[in-house]
């Protein structure tokens, strides 16, 4: 049995301006001990997906359909109270920008203790000891003293470590990290990513890393899912995505990856235009207005939504270009540029 399985998950928000299809038919599998990277620009639906898995849209205005199976339980149709009892324990989340994600008025220790005691009937004292252990484990020096500090008294990297400690305090089996390193500077990013890799190994959890930056997931992920306009447009093993990407959007993302040997501002393959509005999603292929190769498929992209099809060995692509065209463009036009 697959540990986490999404089947055609749709999360739509009715608004005064129309229906926002934030997530529009997403499916994937994830096993324990494995890491999935979900990559996309802001507004692509990746964060909504993670909140959807945690059941945080329940009770709101969102219209949710499809299935989310976690360890044999279906969560979309489960009661909000049941999903709540799983949150923080079975599945847990690390948020972007821990300064705003942690409550400014409570100490770091208190917030970890709170998270621990929701799911474990222990005394405050025991919980505090656990909190200190957790802080030590995520590499915070002098955790017995820092446990009484407030979030604003921590540095950015320390805060993220504390956030991770909080998320891991109940030994979750599924950990979702939403842009865990975006708010941090580059050296700290690397430390945090190392830490997460180590911890995942220790806890044997399933890990979803959500990011707009392919670089972040490059080393960490087993699989990568690229989202665009609420849909998956390419999915595959990390090696496949990096070595043989087939979607023009993925090529753009690869071209936008900051690399140590290049100026960050220099974009090799800029993706022109802006991410699509989720209310007025372009007809046909959502990416077609920004796609440099759209003319080559005879205008199909303007009217027809391409299907997500397997190109080979679990590598899925949603594109009107034929497999051969895609591979040809990659090999002759894109790859040489990226390697120059």
């Amino acid at each position: 049995m697959t540990f986490l399985q999404l089947k055609d998950l749709k999360i739509h928000f009715p608004t005064d301006d129309g229906l926002v299809k934030s997530v529009d038919g997403l499916s994937f599998d994830l096993e324990r001990g494995k890491t999935l990277g979900i990559v996309g620009e802001s507004g692509s639906g990746k964060s909504v997906t993670s909140l959807g898995i945690l059941g945080l849209h329940k009770g709101g205005r969102a219209k949710i359909s499809g299935e989310v199976w976690l360890d044999g339980e279906e969560l979309v149709s489960a009661s909000p109270e049941h999903v709540r009892s799983l949150r923080g324990k079975k599945m847990s989340m690390i948020f972007q920008d821990p300064l705003s994600a942690m409550h400014p008025y409570y100490t770091v220790g208190d917030q970890i203790i709170e998270a621990y005691r929701i799911h474990n009937k222990v005394s405050k004292k025991v919980a505090k000891k656990h909190a200190i252990d957790m802080l030590g484990r995520v590499g915070i020096p002098q955790p017995d003293r820092r446990v009484d500090s407030y979030p604003h008294e921590f540095s950015g990297g320390m805060r993220q470590r504390a956030m991770i400690a909080m998320s891991l305090s109940c030994d979750p089996e599924l950990l979702i990290a939403d842009e865990p390193t975006t708010a941090l500077d580059v050296t700290v990013q690397a430390q945090i990513l190392d830490l997460m890799r180590d911890l995942q190994r220790d806890f044997n959890a399933a890990l979803i890393i959500i990011t707009h930056d392919l670089g972040v997931v490059a080393e960490l992920s087993d699989d990568i899912l690229v989202m665009y306009g609420g849909k998956c447009i390419e999915y595959g093993a990390a090696d496949d995505i990096f070595e043989r990407p087939e979607h023009p959007y993925t090529w753009g993302l690869l071209g936008s990856m900051p690399r140590l040997d290049r100026e960050v501002t220099e974009r090799l393959l800029p993706i022109k235009g802006t991410p699509p509005s989720l209310i007025n999603v372009p007809s046909g292929c959502a990416f077609h207005p920004r796609c440099a190769f759209e003319p080559r498929n005879g205008g199909k992209g303007r009217t027809l939504v391409p299907d997500l099809v397997e190109t080979e060995g679990g590598h899925l692509v949603r594109c009107h270009l034929s497999r051969e065209e895609r591979r040809d463009i990659w090999a002759t036009e894109i790859k040489p540029k990226l390697e120059s």
């Binding site: 909140l51 945690l54 945080l56 009770g59 709540r84 009892s85 799983l86 949150r87 923080g88 324990k89 847990s92 989340m93 948020f95 920008d97 705003s100 994600a101 942690m102 409550h103 400014p104 008025y105 100490t107 709170e114 998270a115 929701i118 799911h119 407030y150 604003h152 909080m166």
Partner: protein, 337 residues
């Protein structure tokens, strides 16, 4: 922390000094620049057919012929060491803090102020508790049920509450509840708490509600806006992601943050209120500091105006200090230094 408080207290004293100097100037320096003489000022405090000699004598007695600086110095001195007061048939010593004697009623100002303070304190205490509880509850419920009939209704009533002055609501409430139905006390029926707590509350319930209505409305709107802001914060999402029950998310994480600015405003409002709920006290004929101030200002009774201004400024300054200290307790990000 201690040095901070000491520093703030010194600042508060300086502030009171400035307030007193400015009030004094408004009364004495500004009119003089406009050509009003000391005798013209004295003319306000004599009967309508007083002779020129009487006016000069009164000006002399009130010390209006002295330079303003000397008059101010005398006033300050009275506060710290007391002053002698000639009441015609003899001289009386007015002990410190002596804020002088009313130019009009000839009553010493300080005992009068102390006599009226309990009325205003009673009014402020009851009203502020009511409006805080009602305002915050309505605000929270409105925020959580945003767009519901309750929310819309509450916000319309709140708009009315903010817009209607207490002299209007007070008058309407009195005519309907006190004179029409006879279920609440008529205006001016204040009984001290120490005499009869039940009568005290009965006599004040309508002023409390009137004043509370005004502020509860403002607080409901503030709380609602603060709550909506807070419930959209990332840390609320974190709290939910931890698996906290919604009740705890709202109560512990949401309210705590949303209430912090409310606490600040509440402290200042109460401070200002103790300085005199002028409109409400007038509407209900309550003999508190606000009513005292209205009378003093109408009669241009300088010692009373000065005394009242000082007391009101004192409460506002103290309220500010308490709010700042409280803020540091409530919000750990604020460090006092």
């Amino acid at each position: 922390m201690v040095t901070y408080i000491i520093r703030r207290l010194i600042g508060a004293l300086a502030m009171l000094f400035i307030v007193s100097a400015v009030t004094f100037s408004i009364f004495f320096v500004v009119p003089r620049l406009a050509g009003v003489t000391a005798d013209d000022i004295a003319n306000r405090y004599v009967g309508r057919a007083a002779t020129a000699e009487t006016v000069v004598a009164v000006a002399e007695k009130l010390g209006l012929h002295d330079p303003v600086v000397v008059q101010y110095g005398r006033w300050v001195k009275g506060i710290f060491v007391g002053a002698d007061y000639d009441y015609g048939s003899g001289v009386e010593f007015c002990p410190a803090p002596c804020f002088g004697y009313s130019f009009v009623t000839k009553q010493p100002v300080w005992p009068d102020l102390m006599d009226r303070l309990p009325v205003t304190l009673s009014l402020a205490a009851g009203a502020s508790i009511i409006w805080l509880i009602v305002g915050v509850s309505v605000g929270v419920l409105s925020a959580l049920r945003r767009g519901s009939i309750f929310d819309r209704g509450a916000m319309i009533i709140a708009l009315a509450g903010v817009s209607l002055p207490p002299f209007f609501t007070g008058l309407v409430a009195l005519s309907i509840l006190s004179y029409g139905l006879g279920i609440t006390a008529p205006g001016g029926a204040y009984v001290p708490l120490s005499e009869d707590p039940v009568q005290w509350a009965y006599s004040l319930i309508l002023p409390w509600l009137t004043l509370a209505f005004l502020n509860a409305a403002a607080y409901a709107r503030l709380t609602r806006a603060g709550m909506l802001d807070t419930m959209g914060e990332d840390y609320i999402r974190t709290a939910r992601a931890k698996g906290l029950k919604e009740r705890v998310v709202i109560g512990k994480h949401g309210l705590r943050a949303a209430l912090t600015p409310i606490v600040t405003i509440f402290g200042l409002d109460v401070g200002i209120l103790i300085g005199g709920a002028i409109l409400t006290e007038n509407a209900f004929s309550l003999q508190g500091l606000g009513k005292y101030a209205t009378t003093a200002i109408a009669a241009q009774d300088l010692p009373k105006i000065m005394g009242f201004t000082m007391l009101a400024a004192f409460f506002i300054v103290v309220a500010n200090l308490i709010v700042d200290l409280l803020y540091a307790v409530v919000d750990p990000r604020v460090r006092l230094s």
